[in-house]
Amino acid sequence: MSGHDHGDDGVSRRKVLECMTWAGTGVLWTITGGVPRSLGIIDSAQAATAAASGMTFLQISDSHVGFDKPANPNALGTLEEAINKITAMPAKPSFMIHTGDITHLSKAAEFDNADRIISQSKLDVHYVPGEHDFLDEEVKFYRERYGRGTKGQGWYSFDAGGVHFIGLVNVIDLKAGGLGNLGAEQLAWLEDDLRGKSKSTPIVLFAHIPLWTVYPEWGWGTEDGARALEQVKGFGSVTVLNGHIHQVMQKVEGNVTFHTARSTAFPQPAPGAAPSPGPMKVEDAKLRAMLGVASINFKQNEQRLAIIDTPLQG
């Protein structure tokens, strides 16, 4: 988890994330001015323009390497397609975050395969775990690979391009009948981590399960997520990036922008649109339009991070 301290913390203006929604591979985030908005499908030339100024990073999520059910018999293959899209980007992003469920069953071979493909991007990757990454008997495979330099169950923070990034773990010690869980130890660490930070520092919080309540009936939310959000409320720009629900969802509340990314493996239904949140089988021709990555761009002197969701296939 090497930091990406690009120095220059002279962010005096209020910063907020701006979200441009492509149709499906990852989310490209950029920090510019204005209100989060969806630009729909944009072409790579536009993406290149967005990326040309300011710091750009990527979000990928829910690669579920090892998944081989009808909703996508080759999750490793679609992850590779996503990475190929990233490799082909005209402007190289600064780094990538992966918001969890790297693997489907936490098998060593699944982690190895995921790493073999993701490392082809030649980008530094900052991970947080999903519940599917903690399934091995001794719960050690994720930690051995990605836990170095992290605190507690794997949380950490780093600075890049004037933005403070905080990776949280909300998939441990879940309580019967409850939602995702951060826990007292992590919340105390967060308070400590934010202490003394200038309120003009743009904050990016990322975690696997949405930190906001998307749909509690399906467990899509975090029991004590509001306590984390309370701690960042005073900051001028807060962006919350999550995965878990395998679809793009966005919400803006004051200075806080919430965004969930697509999976690179399989789509899940909209809240309440199916009997369960399980993998959604779509026509083969439509699958790649529902998978994707996101790209996020941060520009100094502008107010918002711009997020571009890109499908594997328009």
Partner: protein, 111 residues
């Protein structure tokens, strides 16, 4: 026989299977009961059984689940079509849930 090496207290899957195999000697097979996991729901969600009954859970979803009753039993991660069995030798109410999807809950009442 496998040793118990799980960090959480739990009944080893191998042990539970062995118990299920031995049980017919002392208990009528008809006493054994199945719970299915379909669409992130334990079905039936509540069961009343007699002491000595073995309950077998089968995951029929495309997503892994677990069956966990705090301090009582804990399955391994059940992938599609995997099973977990537990023989209830003591009366009482056993609330359980899926540790991956905690909104999934169930209850076994043993008398």
């Amino acid at each position: 026989m496998k040793t118990l090496n799980r960090r959480d207290f739990g009944v080893d899957f191998g042990l539970a299977l062995a118990a299920a195999v031995l049980l017919p000697v002392t208990t009528a097979r008809a006493d054994d009961i199945e719970v299915h996991i379909d669409n992130f729901v334990f079905q039936p969600a509540e069961l009343k059984i007699k002491v000595g009954t073995t309950v077998t859970w089968t995951n029929r979803d495309d997503i892994p689940h677990t069956v966990v009753s705090a301090g009582k039993f804990r399955s391994k991660t059940l992938d599609t079509d995997d099973k977990f069995s537990f023989t209830f030798t003591n009366a009482g109410d056993y609330k359980y849930f899926c540790s991956l999807h905690p909104q999934m809950t169930g209850m076994i009442k043993v008398e």
